[in-house]
């Protein structure tokens, strides 16, 4: 029996689950680095978070929404990974699970599942934990290379945390430079911080993979990081205040992770290219504003979440240029 269908009769090999798998692959290097520096606790948190997210999505789909099994598209795995990468490795596991619940059930499934959520699920989970458990969420274990059973590790501060708590008098002193880890340490990830955000190197590797596979375009990460670099750079040039030192700002904290993996999340970023650029620049400005002026040392998650809310508006005003129409 012949089949009849509408054109086009061929289809590109790219599928949703394929894209999601590629993102998971791109996230692996950052996870490996985290295990290298933070040991087994990091691995346990990653595993718990991924398992929690997948399980919650499965259970909610089965017993609450009565939909087909939606876990096969790997999107829950990504949410789990991203959530874990945004947590310190010393966080108690029940809190991780609470974050999973917030991410998957509240931020994703309540909105209608994959493709319909307004806010990035992993970031909602992280911000929820950050506000609910501020103490646990800001206790950063000191990285120890290859010390896998890193159980009762010392805690220290993140580079951004150090900057935040400098006294105004200290900031202009050259010596305070020694408070910060060297740049190469920040680049490979040998500093305190969340599991997945410490190593810019690993994140850039993942970025390269995503670009090669044409999963995302370079625009959002480039403009996001670029905006932060330029604003902090200009401020630093005029004030010589170490708190605004641009390289520290882009190498530490969640900027790389946020710019590469969370601001580029398909569902919660604008559709048109101009919209994406606008979105990224706004994220950058908000990040800098939060880092410089708020009580929090870190502003990436808030910046992205705030901009997520504006995506429908951005989509309305930034439409692609149509063929045959002069602007």
């Amino acid at each position: 029996m012949l089949k009849i269908s509408t054109a086009p009769h061929i289809h590109s090999p790219q599928t949703v689950s394929g894209i999601m798998k590629d993102v998971v692959i791109a996230l692996i290097p950052a996870g490996l680095v985290a295990v290298l520096f933070f040991g087994l606790p990091a691995l346990i948190i990653i595993a718990t978070s991924v398992a929690g997210c997948v399980l919650l999505e499965y259970l909610a789909g089965r017993f609450w929404l009565k939909t087909e099994n939606t876990t096969r598209d790997y999107s829950a795995v990504i949410t789990g990974l991203l959530l874990a990468y945004n947590l310190p490795s010393s966080l108690p596991l029940p809190m991780v699970l609470a974050g999973c619940f917030m991410s998957i059930v509240v931020a994703k499934l309540c909105y209608g599942g994959l493709g319909k959520n307004i806010f990035n699920p992993a970031l909602v989970g992280r911000v929820f934990l950050f506000i609910s458990f501020p103490v646990e969420m800001t206790r950063w274990p000191v990285p120890q290379f290859m010390n896998f059973l890193n159980i009762d590790a010392q805690t220290g501060a993140t580079p951004l945390g150090i900057l935040k708590h400098l006294d105004a008098a200290e900031t202009t002193l050259i010596q305070s430079n020694s408070l910060l880890p060297e740049y190469w340490k920040m680049f490979v990830g040998y500093t305190g911080g969340c599991i997945g955000e410490v190593s810019s190197l690993a994140l850039l590797l993942g970025f390269g993979y995503l670009l090669w596979k044409k999963i995302i375009s370079w625009h959002i990460p480039f403009y996001y990081i670029g905006t932060v670099f330029i604003i902090s750079g200009i401020t630093w040039l005029f004030t010589h205040d170490i708190r605004f030192e641009p390289l520290t700002h882009i190498l530490s904290g969640g900027l790389m992770l946020g710019a590469i993996f969370m601001a580029t999340d398909y569902t919660t970023s604008p559709m048109s290219l101009n919209g994406k650029i606008f979105f990224a620049i706004c994220c950058g400005i908000l990040t800098v504003v939060i880092r410089f002026f708020s009580g929090y040392p870190e502003g990436v998650s808030f910046a992205i979440l705030i901009m997520n809310a504006f995506v429908p508006l951005i989509d309305r005003y930034f439409t692609p240029r149509r063929f045959g129409v002069k602007k």
Binding site: M1, L2, K3, I4, S5, T6
Partner: protein, 285 residues
């Protein structure tokens, strides 16, 4: 401390008063005069916003009624609400009541179910009759029959049409059908027709729109009209045109229905004996 409180009270009061003044003038300036009868009529209407009356919705129909004179009013009719609603509106407007119109119901003029007309090909595309019709004939090969994708089900504002799983045909629930005519407009092959419900729900119609020659039509569908003219001998009002018989609504179903259905060699003529059908519908519910 008390100073602060008092200042606050003053400031807030001042804002409240100025806002009130602005609001007063704005509302006065932009006040729209609306015929109070519109809302009154609107309340009587079924609020299905189906557009069967030819207006954009119930509110629009109410406006049209309110602005009409007696002659214009006689042309307006809400098929969904029927006589009762139109009488109420006539009372509101003080016009004479409209004449009783015969109640109609949507009937599907195709019986090419998957039993009567087995599929010869697989349609692999989106569930839209319009798209399917655009790229080929029905799965059974009939160029004028139902394609079983249910645009009518989606279009019906009253949920009166459902897809029968066994036959893959849309079925009109005559208890729910308000004869708004949405399905008539939606079906890309124009298979629906609004026909009078008939006395005691008895009606007779040709369930086929195929204009092909008998042998070709029969090849695809067991119950196709083959244009054999037998039905014309029962009642001279029945006409066969383009190999397709059509029974006008003026033919009494009560008198000729059973006979017409019996005469048809292919079973394309369907006679519905009202009482039976309603009982069945109740059983299903």
């Amino acid at each position: 401390m008390s100073d602060t409180i008092i200042t606050n009270i003053y400031v807030l009061d001042a804002i409240a008063v100025s806002a009130a003044i602005i609001l007063y003038f704005v509302s006065k300036k932009f006040k729209t005069r609306e015929n109070h009868k519109i809302s009154e009529i609107d309340e009587c209407l079924p609020q299905a916003n189906c557009g069967a009356c030819g207006k954009a919705g119930c509110r629009d129909f109410a406006t049209a009624c309110a602005n009409s004179n007696e002659e214009e009013f006689s042309k307006l009719y809400c098929t969904v609400g029927g006589k009762d609603v139109m009488d109420k509106i006539a009372d509101i407007l003080g016009y004479s009541k409209q004449e009783t119109k015969e109640e109609t119901v949507a009937v599907l003029r195709c019986n090419g179910s998957c039993q009567n007309a087995p599929a010869k090909k697989i349609y692999d595309g989106i569930s839209s009759c319009r798209i399917a019709v655009g790229i080929s004939s029905s799965p059974n090969g009939c160029p004028e029959g139902c394609v079983h994708l249910g645009d009518c089900v989606k279009a019906c504002p009253f949920g009166a049409i459902h897809m029968d799983k066994a036959s893959q045909m849309p079925i009109v629930d005559e208890n729910k059908c308000t004869s708004c005519g949405k399905c008539v407009k939606t079906c890309p092959r124009g298979l629906f027709e609004l026909r009078p419900r008939g006395k005691n729900g008895k009606r007779v119609y040709v369930a086929c729109r195929n204009t092909q020659k008998g042998n070709i039509a029969r090849k695809n569908c067991k119950v196709a009209c083959i244009g054999c003219q037998k039905c014309t001998s029962i009642n001279s009002l029945v006409k066969v045109k383009n190999n397709l018989s059509y029974i006008p609504t003026t033919v009494s179903a009560e008198k000729y229905g059973a006979e017409l259905a019996k005469t048809c060699p292919t079973g394309a003529i369907i006679y519905i004996n009202g009482t039976e059908k309603t009982e069945k519908a109740h059983e299903k519910n």
